[in-house]
Amino acid sequence: MKQMDEDIQLVERYLGGDAEAVETLVVKYQKRIYTIVYRMTRNVEDAKDLTQKTFVKAIEGIKGFRKESSFKTWIYRIAINTGLTHLKGNRREERELDESMMGSHPGTLSTIIENEKRGFIRRGLDELPERQRLAVILRAYEGLSCTETAQVMGCSEGAVKAHYHHGVKRLKEIVKEKGYEIRT
């Protein structure tokens, strides 16, 4: 609640003419927004560009922020929409190798196996239907609650639960199909 109040104060400061309040908001959320759009695009340059676009869109449309939900869910929603628009416009090319498997850090055999498994999970995530993928990114990676995820995705909590459940189930199946064990 404290965090929400701080954000609303920053928004009001900006609307009152204090342009520097924008910088404070960007510093606060830049890493989280970058992480979300990176997980959607899996490309560093695209993620950097989309992070900036997300903030610019948010600041330009800040009057549309009605303060009913938190600034966090509002800006996450803008990030998700910006990422989806980008993905629709640029069909991603299949990547032969995942960044973690490029061999720059060979490490031990167990590390290589772990990296390989992560690579399959990432690719599995890419292959999930859009809504399932978003639900997994927002819930598992970002730790948003069902309510927050529903606000970001613009759907019901029930739909979020279903998308998340099916998404995680599918990822588990992928790991098993490839012959990896899930640590307990």
């Binding site: 520097e20 960007v26 900036q52 610019v56 973690s100 992560r118 598992a140 730790g143 609650s145 995680v168």
Partner: protein, 189 residues
């Protein structure tokens, strides 16, 4: 009725992120000690979350806040009209209407003020300019009209011009023509 197990299962992503309030966090922790299914779910979620996100570097993080602010400010400067329309829609609509009215009126005003030498009928000019002319003045007036370039007939006009015809009229004919024209003008013809 939902079981405690289902409720806790739903809270696992927040538990992993550390965003659960203290009491709930302890409750989940205690449940994980006894529930194999939830423990396995947490392990799998850890594996998903463990996947790294490449760091774009300090330069990106340090410059982004300023870049965002400057981009927004530049856009505002570049499209001030857009911001005006968004902020004061009624005032912008009135300004646009005034501008359109001016654009419509201004060229028409110019058209009326710039006179074509052939726009005015020479007969009208003669009536207004030479009302008090005497019979002796007629040849001089005829000469003046002929040499006045502004009243020169266009190339496609047939010679001789009607100015010369006036010059050849007698004083009586001129008198009756003058009266006829005067009557025509008064009746608005």
């Amino acid at each position: 009725m939902r079981s405690e197990h289902e409720e806790i299962m739903e809270m696992l992503p927040e538990y992993l992120k550390g965003s659960l309030p203290g009491e709930l966090g302890n409750e989940v922790q205690a449940h994980l000690e006894v529930c194999k299914e939830c423990k396995s779910e947490v392990s799998f979620l850890r594996e998903i979350v463990d996947s790294e996100v490449p760091d774009p570097g300090d330069l990106f993080w340090q410059s982004l806040p300023r870049r965002v602010r400057l981009t927004v400010e530049k856009k505002k400067e570049r499209f001030p009209l857009g911001f005006l329309v968004r902020r004061l829609p009624v005032a912008a609509a009135i300004a646009a209407a005034l501008l359109l009215t001016l654009i419509y009126i201004y060229p028409n005003k110019d058209k009326v003020s710039v006179q074509d030498p052939f726009f005015n009928d020479p007969l009208t000019a003669s009536v207004s300019d030479y009302t008090d002319a005497t019979e002796e003045d007629i040849p001089l007036i005829a000469e003046e009209i002929t040499v006045d370039e502004s009243y020169l007939p266009r190339d496609n006009y047939m010679d001789p011009s009607y100015h010369n015809e006036f010059a050849s009229l007698s004083s009586g004919e001129m008198e009756s023509l003058y009266e006829a024209l005067k009557g025509e003008q008064q009746s608005g013809g």
